[in-house]
Subunit: 162 residues, 2 copies
């Protein structure tokens, strides 16, 4: 178990996170870019994710929905800037419950001694937008999603060695 670090300074429209996983970079990167893996971990515990589209290339768009066990649904969409690589993926992000409020996320991947650190950098159109996202449970959602990702990576690594 490693720490999930979140940096969100007062008055700055930005959130940065870092988390290290006990898995090689190529597998972690696949979990962020391949829909059949992404759908298994993104989002809080107990939610079901449905991916309408996830076209990981320059100008590709994505849209997905998280649904809880009562049937409440939260949909998100955005577009990829540039062709993502292990050096980083850049994408816009809009929660359809707050249309017109868009952020831009950058994810980078670094491997050291077989472990991979994932860093995210999200910038928002305003501090108010950033604060609303943090208040809405962004940190809990990401923390729980990463816990699910850790479980997925363990399963995938076990399958590799079986």
């Amino acid at each position: 178990m490693t720490d999930f670090e979140v940096t969100a300074e007062p008055g700055v429209p930005q959130v940065q996170t870092a988390r290290t996983f006990d898995a090689p970079l190529d597998l972690v990167y696949r979990a962020f870019t391949e829909p059949d893996l992404l759908v298994q971990w993104l989002g809080p515990h107990g939610y079901t994710m449905t991916i309408d589209r996830y076209d990981v290339h320059d100008g590709g768009t994505y849209r997905y929905t998280h649904t809880d066990d009562k049937g409440n649904a939260w949909a998100f969409h955005g577009v990829f800037h540039g062709d993502p690589s292990t050096d980083g993926m850049v994408q816009t992000f809009e929660f359809e419950g707050a249309p017109g409020h868009v952020s831009m996320d950058t994810v980078t991947f670094d491997e050291q001694d077989g472990r991979t650190t994932v860093r995210t950098n999200s910038v928002f159109q305003s501090v108010e937008d950033r604060d609303a996202m943090v208040t809405s449970g962004m940190e809990t959602g990401m923390r729980e999603g990463y816990e699910r990702l850790e479980e997925l990576l363990v399963r995938e690594l076990k399958a590799r060695h079986d």
Copy 2:
């Protein structure tokens, strides 16, 4: 002649601008979204703009180059988030001379008494990126581009009434 306002607070990865033009919203919006008009004004005085692509729709990509009279060239590319409208256009932006550094720009248009105010909101991945963009002459480039836009709007309005 109206003022060009720029807000770039210390320690915040953001730049906001505002400029009012003596022209109706529909014409100003066309000048931002139609390549044959955009090419006539975007960029500083004395530069030639070449547009490789400018696909103004969700997931559409753009790329253009500014060339000075000595043949020096600066190329930029990005992607549109969502279908732009007069309520706003959102796009990513990357100067190819500094690959991997991406910002997200939001442009909104408001008309009052036949005059249109254009507001831009640019957020950067870091304060360092923001400072580098400001230091590189962003304000002068935008100010001169808007002077050229003002001239273009006068020409277009004259043509409408001839």
